[in-house]
């Protein structure tokens, strides 16, 4: 029986290849660089530099990736775990994913002026189907192309600066898919559904409470009792409604399909959103003083007026918009994935992790 699938099989003499060693190497390098950065380099008297730890993280991430690749090369003489994710199918999907990011991001983020962006749909989709590295690269490429290559009206000045955020989103999406969080589990037992439902709904409610507290709490809106009230109320309502809509869709999917994966997807979305906010806030604050031309700028303004400096204000805004945005995006991607035929998914590098178990006929 022949398959004709080409996988380089260089095996070094007598050494067992320990996969986890590579991750350890990467983590060590990452920690060393971040630690060294914080201890030695980031002692500038220049205000902006001390807050730009995003750049530090970028360097650390790139070095960690290089360490991972080097470790694998040393162990096996090739970097198959990375190149395997980049077969022709991935290469063909990448431009489509990039276009999805840009078209949807432009249509939703720039045109509709609601505080979600929907500009990582392609990144997360390809991360799930092909792997973390294609996901990361797609995110970076999409942001760079969005700024440096495309003419108006598809253009965005600020996207390139956020390439790092997009990379991390792609990595996380690929990681979540790899550990099976996007594999449909129809016919989950009643108990599983209940537990999953509680966890996910709990998280969403926590998020919604945070949003409410930020706006209407002591730090928030009493300064604007007069003229500006309606505007900020509307924005708060939109964010809240989106969260509620997500919960409703989620509940429908969960109980109609008896598919507890929906809960996993919700957690993945919110988690990715929080990480994304953490990384994008310093970039927005330092490079663009918090203003990105999206519908979220007024949120930043609100927070700044209530006393936060630029960095904290952008961070507060991010913690509001990003989890909602990523939650909605992850759900959309999950819906796309379950609409794709098994045959189609099976041919992608990570396809086997996206197909329900035991549904007849394995992957060859």
């Amino acid at each position: 029986m022949s398959q004709g699938v080409q996988v380089p099989t260089a095996s070094p003499s007598g050494m067992r290849t320990l996969g986890w060693l590579r991750y350890v190497a990467a983590l060590v390098v990452f920690a060393v660089i971040v630690g060294a950065g914080i201890a030695f380099v980031w002692d500038f008297s220049v205000e902006e530099a001390t807050r730009s730890w995003a750049i530090l993280t970028a360097i650390a991430l790139a070095a960690a990736f290089a360490a991972y690749a080097a470790a694998e090369y040393w162990q096996t003489g090739a970097v198959t775990s990375i190149s395997r994710q980049f077969d022709t199918r991935t290469i063909v999907l990448m431009p489509i994913a990039i276009a999805l990011n840009i078209v949807l991001g432009q249509a939703v983020g720039a045109a509709l002026k609601i505080p979600i962006y929907l500009d990582s749909i392609g990144t997360i989709l390809i991360g799930a189907l092909a792997g973390p590295i294609p996901g990361a690269l797609t995110g970076v490429a999409a942001n760079l192309i969005w700024t440096y290559v495309l003419p108006p009206p598809f253009h965005s000045d600020i996207a390139a600066a956020f390439a790092l955020v997009a990379a991390v989103i792609g990595l996380m999406a690929g990681g979540f898919a790899r550990i099976g969080w996007m594999r449909p589990r129809p016919d989950s037992s009643g108990t599983t559904l209940l537990v999953g439902g509680f966890v996910a709904v709990g998280l969403v409610l926590l998020m919604a409470w945070y949003a409410y507290d930020r706006f209407y709490g002591s730090q928030g809106l009493d300064l604007f009792a007069g003229t500006s009230d309606p505007l900020f109320q509307v924005l708060a309502v939109v964010v809240g409604v989106l969260a509620v809509a997500a919960v409703i869709v989620f509940a429908v999917l969960l109980f109609m399909r008896r598919d507890v994966t929906v809960a996993y997807v919700v957690v993945a979305g919110i988690g990715t959103g929080i990480v994304s906010a953490l990384i994008s806030a310093p970039i927005a604050a330092n490079l663009f003083s918090g203003v990105t031309g999206a519908g979220t700028d007024f949120l930043v303004a609100v927070f700044r007026q209530s006393g936060s400096d630029i960095s904290t204000a952008t961070f507060q805004q991010g913690l509001l918009s990003d989890p909602v945005d990523k939650l909605v995006t992850f759900m959309i991607v999950y819906v796309i994935l379950i609409s794709m035929a098994r045959r189609t998914k099976a041919r992608f590098p990570q396809g086997e992790y996206l197909i329900e178990r035991g549904a007849g006929g394995g992957i060859d």
């Binding site: 500038f44 008297s45 220049v46 902006e48 530099a49 980049f86 022709t88 199918r89 290469i91 063909v92 999907l93 990448m94 431009p95 489509i96 990039i98 276009a99 999805l100 840009i102 078209v103 949807l104 249509a107 939703v108 720039a110 509709l112 609601i114 490429a141 999409a142 192309i145 700024t147 440096y148 290559v149 495309l150 003419p151 108006p152 598809f154 253009h155 000045d157 600020i158 007069g226 003229t227 500006s228 490079l287 663009f288 003083s289 918090g290 203003v291 990105t292 031309g293 700028d297 007024f298 930043v300 303004a301 700044r304 007026q305 006393g307 936060s308 400096d309 796309i336 794709m340 189609t344």
Partner: protein, 265 residues
């Protein structure tokens, strides 16, 4: 060799190697961010964007496009910084309960200058270089053909996806979908469009993958190129000078040299 391939550009600036123009664009943008202040970025705009644009004969188009690009974010930046700068002491004027401060104005101008520099540099690059030429230039220098494929295909994918979306919008409209309504209707209306666009694109992936592999796409190593953009040692020198300049500005910024030069603040 057919004469419609490898056409040189109309002006000497156009005929520069794509890599050179790219380095200049990115260098100008990064330098503008690093330099900070208002005068620095404006000088960069003058020498890195406006003068070359004039030499290339694209100045009017560049100004139109660039201003168009920066308008939304510029207005946002101006308003947010001018009015909502916390801790601003010197009041310029007041509009109801909102005050404009001098410090806010300073930051607003700084941000505007930076945005102008970035947008101008990128627009100049876009107006004088074809993306396919840049990809060829990079491929000639050793970048993998598959990377070049992704770059070229991505640039084409956005307009073609929008075309498909427009067709689908027209079809949906014929079926009674209301695209002129308010925001909530529009969000709901997006769904029947987004679905077919995405699924249509994914369906094509399989066929295109087969076609590419059957046409030898998976062969490792470089492929034959029909033509490549020209380059020269002077351009190489210029590129390295730009890189060195950006690094110098970065070092000056980091070590506080720049802040000590008063007029750059």
């Amino acid at each position: 060799m057919p004469d419609f391939l490898g056409q040189p550009g109309p002006t000497p600036w156009h005929r520069l190697a794509p890599l050179t123009k790219l380095v200049i664009a990115i260098g100008t943008a990064i330098a503008a961010v690093l330099v900070g202040g208002v005068i620095g970025p404006l000088l960069l705009v003058l020498f890195g964007v406006l003068l070359p644009a004039r030499a290339a004969g694209v100045l009017p188009r560049l100004m139109r496009l660039s201003l168009l690009l920066s308008l939304p974010i510029g207005v946002s930046a101006l308003l947010v910084n001018l009015f909502f700068y916390p801790g601003g002491q010197q009041v310029l004027f007041q509009v109801g309960p909102i005050t404009a401060t001098t410090e806010g104005l300073a930051l607003a101008l700084q941000t505007l200058a930076r945005i102008l520099a970035i947008s101008g540099a990128i627009t100049l690059f876009y107006l004088t270089t074809r993306p396919a030429d840049l990809v060829l230039d990079l491929e000639r220098r050793g970048v993998s053909a598959r990377v070049g494929f992704v770059a070229n295909a991505s640039v084409q994918a956005v307009p073609s996806m929008l075309d498909r979306a427009t067709t689908i919008v027209a079809a949906q409209r014929a079926r009674g979908l209301d695209t002129q309504a308010g925001i909530w209707r529009r969000v709901r209306g997006l769904v029947p469009i987004v679905g077919p666009v995405i699924m249509g694109a994914i369906a094509q992936v399989e066929e295109r993958t087969m076609a590419l592999e059957a046409r030898g796409f998976t062969r490792p190593g470089p492929r034959t190129l029909l033509w490549t953009p020209g380059d020269s040692s002077r351009q190489r020198l210029a590129r390295w000078l730009v890189v060195a300049g950006v690094v110098a500005v970065g070092v000056a910024r980091a070590t506080g040299l720049l802040s000590s030069v008063a007029w750059l603040g």
